[in-house]
């Protein structure tokens, strides 16, 4: 897919809990096609203090509204700068990057979308696309406390949502891999994004259960286009770039100890 460097316009910056913002972005021209699981790289202002662009997954792309949604966790100077953007501001973005999730060939597939922390972000767009295809996705979303649960109502518009929190404040207490839906229901495709320990646990569960599983990795990256080889993941084909050959990988291709 052709990549673009675009100056997008901020429609709105919406605080989501205390640690996240939703950036609603648009452009005068129609935005290019983007598929679920792809990401963008956001340039932080003109300052050399945050040198590198920040990779952010595509939370949704509403073609009719010509709107790109980015759900951003406020972790450092770069992401905090994003939170200061106001309607009408411009933000320089390279997109779309990476490969995206493999969509099922068959509408009888029962997919489970497991997210943790800010890793839930790309699963909304994936769920929306699955629903468009006539497939009902099930979401299983985990967080430490109720404070990191984000935009649950949006997920509920797309499919059933199950939740775990480590403190038990919402949903079942514990980790996503401990949720009862995993034993109660049958799935034949898992898509997951979140902290690496969570994804490893999900992959281990999926492998044991014999369910196909794709993970979306969040390795630290620089160029975003497969040139600098910084963001590599160890796979059965050796080190490969998460930014260009991922961020989505089938667990069968990775060298994870699962």
């Amino acid at each position: 897919m052709k990549k673009y460097i675009l100056d997008l316009k901020v429609r709105e910056t919406v605080a989501v809990g205390r640690q996240f913002v939703l950036l609603r972005l648009t452009a005068d021209d129609q935005l290019p096609e983007m598929v679920p699981g792809q990401f963008v790289e956001v340039r932080i202002d003109e300052t050399p203090s945050v040198l590198l662009r920040r990779p952010i997954s595509i939370h949704y792309y509403d073609k009719a509204a010509n709107e790109l949604g980015l759900l951003v966790q406020l972790v450092g100077n770069g992401t905090r700068w994003m939170a200061t953007l106001e309607p009408g501001d411009t933000v320089n973005i390279v997109l779309p990057l990476g490969n995206g999730f493999t969509l099922p060939a068959d509408t009888s597939v029962r997919p489970l979308l497991i997210g943790g922390g800010v890793g839930v972000a790309p699963l909304l767009y994936l769920g929306q696309k699955l629903k468009e295809m006539g497939i009902t996705p099930t979401f299983l979303l985990g967080s430490r406390t109720e404070n990191e649960l984000m935009r649950i109502a949006e997920y509920e518009k797309v499919g059933p949502v199950y939740i775990t929190t480590e403190n038990g404040a919402v949903g079942e207490q514990g980790y996503v891999t401990q949720h009862s839906v995993l034993t109660r229901e049958q799935f034949d495709q898992v898509y997951t994004c979140g902290p690496k320990p969570m994804m490893v646990a999900v992959a281990r569960w999926a492998k044991a259960a014999g369910v196909a599983c794709e993970v979306s990795l969040e390795n630290k990256m620089a160029c975003g286009v497969g040139a600098c080889l910084c963001c590599v993941e160890d796979t059965k084909q050796g080190h490969v770039c998460v930014c260009s050959e991922g961020p989505v990988f089938s667990i069968d291709k990775l060298s994870w100890q699962i």
Binding site: I5, R43, L51, A227, C228, V232
Partner: protein
């Protein structure tokens, strides 16, 4: 519109702007953003005799106005390059230059020899900052003797333009530059990355799997500029300047300091279209200051 043409020995460049090895892939990764044929040259990824997997992740850390990397020369080896990559880049009408790396002199020689046979590769850039496995891992390029040996050996098998990329992690870079010149280099490029380190204080661990890595980006520009200025005065062969160049003004500073051409590295990550903008910016500067040719500002610093 000023005349932007420059040269590195017998190699003619449409303009002085090239891309630094390891930051621009094989050029094709950036083709959506930059017209590669508008650049003076593209220096592709470091290529070694054999396939290398490079270092474990994590390989990168951001630092104030800079970054560290520890990629470790991951590449599929020169045979793969010749068979699978060369065909995809050979028809671009720009100088496609291959960065050649190695861990033993005979590996450099064998790699350079293979690339010498490729018609559409008019030059190589020899990365002499690699550790010499036969010398306890000390880099070839940190002693004049080490630099001279590897350059002389490669010179014997490589008859096109030979650019030698110098390490800045030395006491006197002019001594290394003169050694490269004496051994037959057509040009020296500098600086390669500075050896640095970053620590995660909370976890009390290094941020790179290799502990130390190479620093690049705007932070290193003053050091690079100083070394280019020193080397340009010390050698007769043309100098290619790099190190933190992020815009046309930076590029012009290196030209003024004595560089005949420049390379853009880390800035490609900040703005994938930056190289084209730098070409335009140099032209604008020359027009504004009434210079008819970029060659008029090479080494034109008034001290």
């Amino acid at each position: 519109m000023a005349d932007l043409r420059t040269s590195i020995g017998k190699l003619q460049l449409a303009n002085p702007v090239m891309t630094a090895s390891g930051t621009f892939g094989y050029g094709t990764e950036f083709a959506d953003f930059v017209d590669l044929e508008r650049l003076g040259g593209v220096i592709v990824k470091g290529t070694t005799l054999h396939h290398r997997e490079g270092n474990p992740y994590p390989r990168m850390a951001e630092t104030p106005a800079g970054m560290l990397n520890a990629v470790g020369l991951q590449n599929k080896g020169v045979d793969y390059f010749c068979e699978h990559i060369y065909p995809t880049i050979k028809d671009y009408k720009t100088n496609m230059i291959v960065n050649v790396s190695g861990s033993a002199i005979e590996d450099y020689v064998a790699t350079a020899e293979r690339i010498n046979a490729l018609d559409a590769i008019p030059a190589i850039e020899l990365n002499i900052s690699c550790p010499n496995v036969k010398q306890g891992g000390m880099a070839f390029g940190v002693t004049a003797k080490g630099a001279e040996e590897v350059v002389r050996a490669v010179r014997q098998v490589y008859d096109k333009t030979l650019i030698v990329k110098l390490s800045p992690n030395v006491t006197d870079i002019t001594e290394i530059a003169r050694a490269a010149e004496a051994a037959g280099a057509d040009s020296v490029s500098l600086i390669n990355t500075l050896l640095g380190m970053a620590i995660d204080a909370e976890r009390r661990r290094p941020l790179l799997s290799t502990v130390t890595g190479g620093m690049s980006g705007p932070a290193v520009k003053p050091i690079a500029l100083r070394m280019v200025w020193q080397v340009a005065k010390a050698v007769q062969i043309p100098v290619v300047g790099l190190g933190g160049i992020s815009n046309a003004t930076d590029a012009i500073e290196f030209l003024l300091a004595g560089a005949s051409a420049i390379e853009v590295g880390t800035a490609n990550f900040m703005d994938p279209a930056i190289t084209g903008k730098i070409v335009d910016g140099i032209n604008e500067y020359l027009d504004r200051h009434g210079f008819s040719s970029v060659r008029d500002i090479i080494g034109a610093l008034e001290v």
